[in-house]
C-alpha cells in the first residue's frame, strides 16, 4: 500500500507539468473568450447606435441581452476542453509508452521495484483519474470565475444573468462533464476509469506480445464493448424494453465493474509473467 501511494505520488508529479499547463491554457483561452464576446457585443450595440442612430433601448431590443451562454457555447470555451480531453487521451498511452521509449528505459527500474507490479498499473490508473477530476474541478472553478468577471463586465440593462448550473444542464456535452448528481458523477467518471483500465490492458497486451498483442488488444476491446453493450442489447432485443432505465444502468454498472476486474486480473498476469522490457 505504501509503495502504491509512493508510486501514485511519483506519477502525479510527472503529470503535474502537463496538468498545470492545461489549466493555464483553459483559463487563458476562456477568459479571452469572455472578453471577446463582450467586446463583440458592445461593438454591435455601438455600431447600431452610431451608424443606425438607434437609442440604447432600440439597440438592445434589436440585439437582445447578452448572456453567459454566448461564452459557454463558444469555441473559446469548448475548444480548450476538447484539447484537454485530447491531451488526457494521449496521456493514457504516453503514461506507459514513455517508460519504454527514449534513451532511458525506466521500465527496467519500475519492474524491478520490490513491490507488486500491479501497483504500477494502479498508480497510473489513479493518476489519470485524479488528474482528470482535477481538471474538471478546475474547470468548474474557472467557470464561476469567468461568469463573475462576465457579470462585472456587462452593464445592467444588457446583461441577462443566468445561473451557471442551469447553463451546464442545458448543454448535453457540458452536462456530461459536470453531471448533476453524485450518481451521475460516479457513472461518468467510474465508466471513464473502466475504459482507461481497458486501454491499459490493451497497451500491456501490446507490450507483452508486440504485433500479436495488438490483435489480442483489439479482440479484447471488442469483447469488452460487447459486454458493456449487453445490458442495453438484452433489454431491447430479448426483453422488449421490459427493464426500467435504472435497472439497465445498474446492470451496466455491474458489467463495467466486471470488466474492470477482468482487466486487472489480465494486467496483473501480464505484468508478472509476460511483460518485456
Amino acid at each position: 500500500m505504501r509503495n502504491f501511494l509512493k508510486l501514485t505520488n511519483f506519477e502525479f508529479n510527472r503529470i503535474s507539468k502537463l496538468l498545470f499547463s492545461l489549466m493555464g491554457f483553459v483559463l487563458l483561452i476562456q477568459l479571452i473568450g469572455v472578453f471577446f464576446e463582450v467586446w463583440m457585443y458592445n461593438n454591435r450595440i455601438d455600431s447600431l447606435m452610431t451608424e443606425n442612430q438607434m437609442t440604447e433601448a432600440q439597440a438592445l431590443n434589436q440585439v437582445g441581452e447578452l448572456s453567459f451562454a454566448m461564452v459557454m457555447y463558444s469555441m473559446f470555451f469548448l475548444g480548450p476542453i476538447f484539447i484537454s480531453v485530447g491531451a488526457m487521451l494521449f496521456y493514457i498511452f504516453l503514461i506507459w509508452y514513455r517508460e519504454w521509449f527514449g534513451k532511458n528505459t525506466f521500465i527496467y527500474r519500475l519492474l524491478m521495484l520490490p513491490t507488486e507490479r500491479i501497483n504500477i498499473f494502479f498508480s497510473k490508473l489513479v493518476t489519470i483519474v485524479v488528474a482528470t477530476l482535477t481538471l474538471v474541478g478546475f474547470q468548474f472553478l474557472a467557470l464561476l470565475i469567468e461568469n463573475s468577471i462576465f457579470n462585472a463586465l456587462v452593464s445592467d440593462p444588457f446583461l441577462s444573468e443566468m445561473n451557471v448550473v442551469n447553463l451546464i444542464s442545458q448543454d448535453p456535452l457540458i452536462s456530461m462533464i459536470f453531471p448533476h448528481s453524485l450518481d451521475g458523477i460516479l457513472l461518468v467518471y467510474g465508466f471513464g476509469a473502466v475504459i482507461v483500465g481497458v486501454l491499459f490492458t490493451a497497451i500491456l497486451l501490446e507490450r507483452s506480445y508486440r504485433i500479436k498483442g495488438i490483435a489480442a488488444a483489439i479482440l479484447y476491446a471488442i469483447v469488452v464493448s460487447a459486454l458493456l453493450a449487453s445490458p442495453f442489447a438484452v433489454n431491447e432485443l430479448l426483453l422488449n424494453g421490459y427493464m426500467y432505465p435504472g435497472e439497465i444502468l445498474f446492470t451496466f454498472a455491474v458489467m463495467a465493474l466486471l470488466v474492470l476486474m477482468v482487466s486487472i486480473v489480465i494486467s496483473r498476469k501480464l505484468l508478472n509473467d509476460k511483460i518485456r522490457v
Partner: protein
C-alpha cells in the same frame, strides 16, 4: 546461489536460449562471455523477470523470483534506467524511497570514489559517468547478488579501470556477481568463474584459477579453443 536450469527462450521462431543451465555462487564473480547477440542480456533479463521464458526455471537461493527477491538481487543494465530529468541526488532519493536495502553511506562512498557530482542531471552525464551512476545506483543496494550487463563496453579507458577497481573492494566483496562481457581483457584476473556462450548454448563453464592451475591456460586460451577449435 543463482540457478539457471534448462532455460529455453524463443523470439518468434528463433531460439535465442537453447536450454541454458549454469549456477552463480554468492561471493563469486561469474562472467558470461560471448560475442554480441548470443543471448547474454536475455539471460539477465530472464533472471529479473523482465522477459518471459518458454521453459526451464530460474531460482535465487532456491526460490522463484518474486517482489521480495528484488531486495536481494539487483540488475545494472548497460543503459540508464532512471528518469533522464533526475539529478543523481533525486535518483538516490527514489531508490531510498522504494528499497529497504538502500545504503546511503555506500552511495556516498561511490560518489567520492567515482568523483560524481550529485547535483548533475543524469541526462547531461558523459558515457563513463552514466555507467558509473548506474553502478552507484545498483551497488548501493545491500543485496546479495548483482547482475551487470557489459559494464565496460563503450566507455573510456580510465572509467573502465575505475569500474574494474570496484570489483576488488568491499563494495563488491561477499556478493554474488554475474557479469556479461564480450571483452574479457579488463577483468580476466578478477573473475572466479567463466561461462562461455555461443548461439544460445553454453560451451563451457569453468573456474578460472582451476583451469590455470590444472591446465596452465588463460581464459582467453580456453575461449580460443572453444570458439575457434
Amino acid at each position: 546461489m543463482i540457478e539457471v536450469n534448462d532455460v529455453v527462450k524463443k523470439f518468434g521462431r528463433k531460439e535465442v536460449l537453447k536450454g541454458i543451465s549454469f549456477t552463480a555462487n554468492k561471493g563469486e564473480i561469474t562472467c558470461l562471455i560471448g560475442i554480441n547477440g548470443v543471448g547474454k542480456t536475455t539471460i539477465l533479463n530472464a533472471i529479473m523477470k523482465l522477459t518471459p521464458i518458454n521453459s526451464g526455471e530460474i531460482l535465487v537461493d532456491g526460490k522463484k523470483v518474486t517482489k521480495s527477491t528484488f531486495e536481494k538481487i539487483t540488475f545494472i543494465p548497460d543503459s540508464t534506467i532512471m528518469l533522464p530529468g533526475f539529478t543523481i541526488n533525486e535518483a538516490m532519493d527514489f531508490m531510498n524511497d522504494y528499497y529497504e536495502v538502500w545504503n546511503q553511506e555506500r552511495a556516498n562512498e561511490f560518489l567520492k570514489f567515482f568523483r560524481l557530482n550529485p547535483e548533475d542531471k543524469i541526462s547531461t552525464l558523459s558515457k563513463g559517468n552514466t555507467a558509473k551512476t548506474n553502478l552507484l545506483l545498483g551497488l548501493s543496494l545491500d543485496v546479495d547478488y548483482v547482475l551487470m550487463d557489459e559494464p565496460f563496453s563503450g566507455i573510456d579507458m580510465f572509467s573502465r579501470e575505475q569500474i574494474a577497481e570496484v570489483f576488488t573492494t568491499h563494495l563488491i566483496e561477499d556478493r554474488g556477481v554475474i557479469i556479461t562481457t564480450h571483452e574479457i581483457n579488463d577483468i580476466e584476473h578478477l573473475i572466479d568463474k567463466a561461462v562461455l556462450l555461443d548461439e544460445g548454448e553454453i560451451y563451457k563453464e569453468f573456474n578460472t584459477e582451476e583451469i590455470r592451475e590444472e591446465e596452465g591456460k588463460s581464459v582467453v586460451d580456453v575461449m580460443r579453443e572453444v570458439y575457434r577449435g
